[in-house]
């Protein structure tokens, strides 16, 4: 199999995945116990109102018919209107998604910038004090819930020192970066811990690989071996890992945005739960799952580009 065939097959895989995501979101919304209509309308709704809403949502049709029409409207990009805001759900999400993507992107950059050098120091000093110190610090980071880290950073850097705004998003690009810095740092901490931990393990593994011994035996200087051979292979592992972690990053963004009042899709999701805005919750679940599967695709393609063994 050559590389373009591999790439094509990988791209085609997206289609059944999207279809399955659609089915799963449908099942989630319709088949779980709990009556969506009465929880949307409240307990004191009249029977007429309940019947009208049931009909409006198409809940009086068979499950199969409902699923097909759901998948069809998703494919046409029609995800309904928000019950709370009375605007198309996609517009609501479209307005807020860039904020969440910027936040997640900044968090990824910070996490990688911190984790990669730390993983190197830790691996090269394995089981001596710098390694133990780095691992302990990151272990604490891994055990700290995102909302708590956010509150602590907020208290210290926004509340007491007043270096950063307490929340919000600002109006210009510069303000966006400034407002999102603390939230991104919050989100980056546990992400950096995951990256550091697995990168350290993969560097240790690479360091004992035969081709590294061979490179050393050829008389290459330590630094050349480290950067050409070890770093390259370790980065491949990092790219895969970052791709796999996008899901938990987005999950973390839901909490971070709530703590810092960032107007992204995460906060929209939590707000929608309390507003019983089911079309928005359903659409967001769908959009976020599609995003993760696209991130997995991108990480596979980048991995193919970095690692000549993939797709051969």
């Amino acid at each position: 199999m050559n590389r373009s065939t591999w790439l094509l097959l990988r791209l085609l895989q997206v289609i059944p995945t999207f279809l399955l995501i659609g089915v799963a979101v449908f099942v989630l919304a319709r088949l779980l116990p709990g009556d969506i209509v009465s929880s949307m309308l409240g307990e004191r709704a009249s029977d007429a109102a309940i019947n009208r809403m049931t009909h409006q949502l198409g809940l009086d049709r068979s499950i199969g018919a409902q699923m097909l029409s759901f998948l069809e409207s998703v494919a046409r990009g029609r995800l309904g209107d928000s019950l709370a805001f009375h605007v198309p759900v996609l517009k609501l999400i479209g307005d807020r998604l860039p904020v969440t993507l910027l936040l997640s992107g900044m968090a990824t950059l910070i996490a990688v910038a911190v984790a990669v050098p730390m993983a190197f120091v830790a691996a090269l000093t394995a089981n001596r004090w710098p390694d133990l110190l780095i691992r302990s610090v990151f272990q604490v980071g891994l055990s700290s819930p995102v909302f708590y880290v956010g509150l602590v950073l907020l208290t210290v850097f926004a509340g007491w020192l007043r270096w950063f705004p307490v929340g919000g998003y600002g109006d210009t690009a510069g303000e966006h970066l400034y407002h999102l810095f603390l939230p991104a740092l919050t989100l980056a901490l546990s992400f950096a811990a995951v990256v550091m931990r697995s990168l350290r393990a993969s560097i240790l593994q690479v360091l004992t690989a035969e081709y590294v011994d061979f490179a050393r035996a050829k008389g290459l200087r330590g630094r050349v071996v480290l950067f050409r051979h070890v770093l390259r292979n370790a980065l491949i592992a990092t790219v895969t890992l970052v791709g796999l972690q996008i899901g938990s990053l987005l999950g973390g963004a839901v909490i971070t945005e709530s703590v810092f009042a960032v107007p992204g899709v995460g906060r929209l999701m939590v707000d929608s739960i309390f507003a019983r805005d089911y079309p928005v919750i359903q659409a967001l679940t769908l959009v976020l799952a599609v995003l993760v599967s696209l991130a997995l695709l991108v990480s596979d393609v980048v991995q193919m580009w970095l690692d000549p063994r993939v797709g051969r």
Partner: protein, 268 residues
């Protein structure tokens, strides 16, 4: 058998302390967590109130200790149900293989594309906030990881000599799977479940903080932090100490999980 390592001792020590807090809160700090002390509203930490008091003058040390039983319950229940469901499904998939395994493979691919927290939140949104619904949501999503682990183990064990011997002896499938394979396949799963408890404590307290998990007035660390978040600049101790408790619990479970994995030589 290797020696018990320092991190494992540390993890087990933290867990023992938490169990003590949950089992005998009065023994550690006899103040009533619900008693209002109007002489000390939002009082800073002192000898009388080492963790300070909240806006109603409730002792934060007593409240933090009282919450430990709820958070330990979260760790336990968020792991036990996915563990049981996942084990049964993993045994079936691993033993029978074939189309069952193909379907399972697709299901795993699908679950991986949903952000765990987003999926749990979406399910809680449909069922309504609360601890029981949170357990249901976590079980709906979490069983996959356990089933995957068990499936892998069963696939290895299935072809081993002792299973062939049991077959020759004419034992029933149920007897072979539950009496012979399961005990051998369970070790990595149990080790993973300890690490998973750390994640579940973080998840449970996060949902509590957002108002989707334990509901006030239940004392749960995330709920305590949500209660105090409006005072975070003026009375940071209300949020600080329950947070330290979460970090400690998370550390305890993950150190114990990692330590057990090393001790029992389980691959992760």
């Amino acid at each position: 058998m290797r020696r018990i390592s320092v991190p494992l001792w540390l993890g087990l020590g933290i867990l023992a302390l938490l169990l003590l807090c949950a089992a005998a809160p009065q023994l550690l700090w006899p103040t009533d967590p619900l008693a209002f002390d109007f002489a000390a509203l939002t009082a800073a930490p002192s000898w009388a109130h080492p963790f300070g008091t909240d806006q109603f003058g409730r002792d934060m040390l007593a409240r933090t200790i009282a919450a430990s039983s709820v958070d330990l319950q979260i760790a336990l229940f968020s792991v036990v149900f996915p563990l049981m469901i996942g084990t049964l499904i993993g045994l079936a998939v691993g033993w029978y293989g074939g189309w069952l395994d193909a379907v399972f493979g697709r299901l795993v691919d699908l679950v991986v594309t949903f952000p765990f927290l987003v999926l749990v939140i979406a399910i809680v949104a449909v069922l309504g906030p609360g601890l029981v619904n949170m357990y249901i949501a976590v079980a709906c999503v979490g069983w996959v990881a356990y089933a995957r682990l068990i499936r892998g183990e069963v696939m290895v064990q299935r072809n081993s000599d002792y299973v062939a011997a049991a077959r020759v002896l004419g034992y029933s499938t149920a007897r072979i799977v539950f009496r012979h394979i399961l005990p051998n396949a369970l070790r990595p799963v149990l080790v993973y479940s300890v690490t998973d408890m750390a994640l579940c404590i973080l998840l449970g307290s996060s949902l509590g903080y957002l108002g989707l998990g334990a509901q006030p007035p239940t004392a749960e660390w995330g709920v305590l932090i949500a209660d105090g978040k409006n005072f975070f600049t003026t009375a940071p101790w209300i949020t600080l100490f329950p947070g330290v408790a979460i970090v400690l619990a998370g550390l305890g479970f993950s150190l114990a999980g990692d330590g057990l994995a090393d001790l029992l030589e389980v691959k992760r």
